[in-house]
Amino acid sequence: MVHDVVVSALLIGGALMSLAAGIGLVRFPDLLSRMHAATKPQVLGLLLLLLALAVDNRSWILVPVLVLCWVFQLLTSPVSAHMVGRAGYRTRHLRRDLLTLDELDDVVARAADGDHGGPGRTDAPDGGAGGDRT
């Protein structure tokens, strides 16, 4: 009985994470805030659902598989979020008026200054390449 209640609560919690992501995707104004909403079911929702599965099965043999599944998601979702966020920043899919602080803007400006500073310089090891890589 207690088992069923715990499993039900975990399942409903995980489903509500998905619902929160859907509402956030529709309601939020730009790409970066939508990314903030979209990571909820990928990490926390998956954690709650896998916990529900573990509690429901009542066997320790299942736990390493579930930990592997969750850790894999935990390793891959920041990488893809970083790639999407970087592409969004580069192609200007963000609303500047909603930002309170843009630290990357200073870095980009400094890298651009470094590029314009010495077109004939040959002894700059990373000044030119840094602007291309960021």
């Binding site: 489903a15 619902l19 995707l25 998956l46 599965l53 599944c69 891959t76 592409a87 899919h93």
Partner: protein, 85 residues
Amino acid sequence: MTVVAYVMGGILSVAAALALYRAVRGPSILDRVLALDVVLAIIGAALVLNMVVNRHLDNLILLVTISLIGFIGSVTVARFVTDRK
């Protein structure tokens, strides 16, 4: 448990509908990739619900595969997004 399954199915359906709305409407391709990632997460949630209700463990490999596909897809699309205006 049956009531929980129906409630969770309803919640997941609404969430998938909202995410698909954003995937259709999304102003840029990055919004669409993000929305389809959420759809993949919702599909994973539905697979877990199926495993809990029917008491089997066949879908675990599908969960890992889904997260792999979401990773590869979003990284690939984000890699080839260019400033086309």
